[in-house]
Symmetry: C2
DNA sequence: TCAAAAGTGTTCTTATTACACCCATGG
DNA sequence: CCATGGGTGTAATAAGAACACTTTTGA
């Protein structure tokens, strides 16, 4: 094999850390590998990038094939390219994370075939490849981004209570927040619209529902506003 | 060509945004391309990644071949992989930025051959490939990181004045800082050691020289401290 | 009437901003 | 003795942290 050829004996893939939130802890969607290497182990969903496919497109494809979801929040984190990260050859992978509303997720045939399921982000075994490291870095990136941009809402249903929102931030940031201070701050941003609806079916005083006003946020950004929690 | 083969008709490269600071504006080290594509245009230094080479190693190699420098601060930003970003084929590039002390830079034969020179980061023409976009993203990353970690010192000589440090932050962050407030804050971190030396050869009251105490920073981090400017 | 979570303000503390003059040196 | 940047403190303002009780609903 010539030296030039050897440059092309490599491949690139995308791996997608799909985050979800069910009201309790932050979750990640993993698949159980059905073939070697690492057969039977849990892994991040991923695939090789097609020759005429952009990286983001590949990550969206992986996501849609597994969950049926399109148009989901997706962000690249970085490339992982250690020489021996893949036992079968040189594979550089580009890591993305995405934020989905768990209730929208309906397992697809592809995901059944691979046995996909949500895992608590803080109770994970050893994953295939270098996926623990990838997951770790994506989580760090999420913790940073969630404070700098209103992306947390991507993990919640369109209508949510302030307590749900607070619990979301608490589980991502791994910290406890003061209820009154949190509400004061988030409401003072004027990005939440209070609805004329309340929770139903709860055995206590029902909470007001809110929705995030995407259009107003866009206008604020144009005027130089920057989200900061 | 079979479909499997086509996955391997791709290559990956690294591109390195090398930042420097000469007391005035923030600079970036560019090379003038000597061969097509984009012959004659200025570009980021970069190269294909060798089959048995880690991404960071490749970025360090590019840097050393150009500048003769080793062991400099280097950080990955992200991958750029638009299908048509390289006119000759599918090349995914991993962008890094590095921080060097401009006085240490001695052009190497390799850099002469390529005509390397420092360019003001805010007065750039159109660069080769998607390098303007890469540079832009690396600069954004630097702006963020320089406030979260004591990496600014990598751009200064070991001994520096507080005014030099302030000017460095002002040029990276593109903002003006109040002299007294800046000094109060940076000195209150207890990360700077005041030396028994002063500036020489200046036509005014000479400033005290300081150096960054890397070891003390390491200890503080162990105790949970996190740098925040 | 009880349990469970919703909702609501004020005080204290800390961090950030704004601001102007004298000092030391070389030419 | 003049020009140049070095060096210094205080007051005002804003942001963040701490904290406890009443309300509404379903069971």
């Amino acid at each position: 094999m010539s030296e030039v050829d050897s440059f092309f004996k490599s491949a690139f893939s995308v791996d997608n850390v799909i985050f979800g939130f069910d009201g309790g802890d932050l979750k990640v969607l993993l698949i159980q590998r059905g073939a070697p290497p690492f057969k039977g182990m849990w892994a991040l969903p991923g695939d090789l990038v097609y020759p005429n496919e952009n990286l983001e497109t590949a990550a969206e494809r992986v996501l849609e094939q597994l969950t049926g979801l399109k148009g989901v929040y997706l962000e690249q984190v970085r490339a992982f390219g250690a020489v021996n990260r893949h036992p079968l050859g040189r594979v550089i992978t580009i890591a993305f994370y995405s934020l989905v509303k768990t209730k929208d997720f309906v397992p697809t045939p592809a995901s059944f075939a691979q046995r996909a399921s949500w895992h608590n982000i803080h109770h994970l075994d050893k994953l295939a490849f270098d996926h623990n490291e990838i997951l770790h870095d994506c989580l760090i990136q999420l913790k940073y981004r969630v404070r700098m941009a209103p992306i947390g809402f991507e993990l919640l249903p369109p209508k949510f209570t302030l307590t749900e929102l607070q619990q979301l931030y608490e589980s991502i940031l791994e910290t406890e927040l003061d209820k009154r201070n949190f509400r004061k701050k988030i409401l003072s941003m004027n990005l939440l619209e209070e609805l004329d609806e309340t929770q139903e079916g709860v055995a206590h005083r029902p909470a007001k529902l809110y929705q995030f006003d995407q259009e107003r946020y866009r206008q604020f950004v144009e005027q130089g506003y920057s989200f900061d929690l």
